[in-house]
Amino acid sequence: MNYLHNIGKYFLMIKEMFRKPTKWSVMKHLILKDIDDLIISSLGIVAFIAFFVGGVVTIQTALNITNPLIPKYLVGFATRQSIILEFAPTFISIIMAGKVGSFITSSIGTMRVTEQIDALEVMGINSLNYLVFPKVIALMLYPFAISIAIFLGIIGGMAACVYGGFTTLEDYITGVQLDFIPFHLSYAFIKTFVFAFLLATIPSFHGYYMKGGALEVGKASTTSFVWTSVMIILLNYILTQMLLS
């Protein structure tokens, strides 16, 4: 019953988020600040992980192709498919649930504990619109981070492949270009938009409705990470079933 109650509360929070919008002159600063906090500050870790995991995917694929009849350029093909379809949108989103999600939960949770949210409400400000809406808008730029992850993942794979001596640069590039289906990119970005919405709203929900003190802020961050990851994985399955099968 508690789960149902929280699901209902989550959707009511989303509805309330759109009521009585904050003045645009204030909101635009909040959005820009959240773009900086949530997207720009995450680019470093996204780039680092994408590059090296791209390399690892390539090495493992190359090492597992032992049959001499399988052409070597399939290493590039497998790397591209893994990165575009799964690694960049899903794997990076789970990492972002830890980084961005816990930041959102702890910052909103701390505001709850220190009565800053009450202060907003007493002033007559829709605190959900003020706090959560800019994060949703800022995270609509999340596909930009995923584009970088796709690009660097493929480059990382190329570096590992060529410098590790698994295949030639020409073979890798041939594989990357082989049988490219543009819809796969659309699929990746559709997933990314859905995950971006989850990344903004689930951690906000856990921070906004938390009760207690500093210890509970930490617990709320952990819970929000778990639930954001669970929902990303669940929706990843549903979206894949809907869009690719």
């Binding site: 009521r19 009585k20 904050t22 009450d118 202060a119 007493v122 002033m123 007559g124 400000i125």
Partner: protein, 255 residues
């Protein structure tokens, strides 16, 4: 005027407020006193609409709070200044930005007009040099004064203070008390203060309400609290030897 009639509030099985009725008048500092857990903070949060109440009625200048739509409630709240126990300043903003915040949200003033107003109120609370300090860099007293500045910057009609002196040294506490009383007189606002501090009660309590377990057991002023025979009030207010001596001296002086 704020009129409260027969207010009831519970959390599950716990009955916190049990039929409180009172009025708060313009230009007066109204103090709500009582032991910890007596329902003071819940009462003030019900007045502000932060907690919904089960039964009773709260009206602000004739407008019944529960009859207002969400948007009307928010419009009313824009006329309310609130000083929270911990100050509740926004961590990500400087003191000047915190004070300017209600102006940015609710007025169409130009930047220079807002800056003039912020300078004026910060000077009014003796924080003229603290514009660029972050709340974490300010002392407890400075944070409280900055929070008062934020509460009054938009000329509120109602000012609520939740334990304004908690955690402050006696000297700073007196500064805060005097500031609240001066502001109340100067702008003729309705001020409601929630306090444990007996010094505040004696200094600025123009109207005092005493709560025990969510029930209003006594109502009076800083003058009448010395003379009252109400045992619950005397046990609470004059629990320390110092306060007993103060009362004794006051009674002897009057005789």
């Amino acid at each position: 005027m704020i009129i409260v009639k027969d207010l009831y509030k519970s959390f599950g099985e716990a009955h916190i407020l049990k039929g409180i009725s009172t009025t708060f008048e313009k230009g007066k500092t109204n103090l709500i006193i009582g032991a910890s857990g007596s329902g003071k903070t819940v009462f003030i949060k019900c007045l502000l609409g932060l907690f919904p109440y089960e039964k009773g009625c709260i009206s602000y200048d004739g407008k019944i709070f529960s009859d207002l739509t969400e948007n009307q409630k928010r419009d009313l709240r824009a006329k309310i200044g609130m000083l929270f126990q911990g100050g509740a300043l926004f961590d990500s903003m400087t003191i000047a930005e915190n004070v300017m915040f209600p102006l940015r949200m609710f007025t169409k003033q130009s930047k220079s007009e807002m800056e003039d107003r912020v300078n004026f109120v910060l000077k009014r609370v003796n924080l003229a040099d603290a514009h660029n300090k972050m709340p974490s860099e300010a002392s407890g007293g400075m944070q409280k004064r900055a929070a008062i500045a934020r509460a009054i910057v938009n000329n509120p009609k109602y000012l609520f203070c939740d334990e304004p002196n908690s955690g402050l040294d006696p000297k700073t506490a007196i500064v805060i008390d005097n500031l609240i009383q001066e502001i109340t007189d100067e702008y003729q606002i309705i001020t409601v203060i929630n306090s444990h501090d007996m010094n505040s009660v004696m200094e600025i309590g123009e109207k005092i309400i005493f709560l025990i377990d969510g029930v209003k057991v006594w109502q009076g002023s800083k003058e009448t609290i010395f003379k009252t025979d109400n045992e619950a009030v005397t046990n609470f207010v004059y629990s320390s030897d110092l306060m007993k001596k103060v009362r004794q001296m006051y009674i002897e002086e009057r005789q």
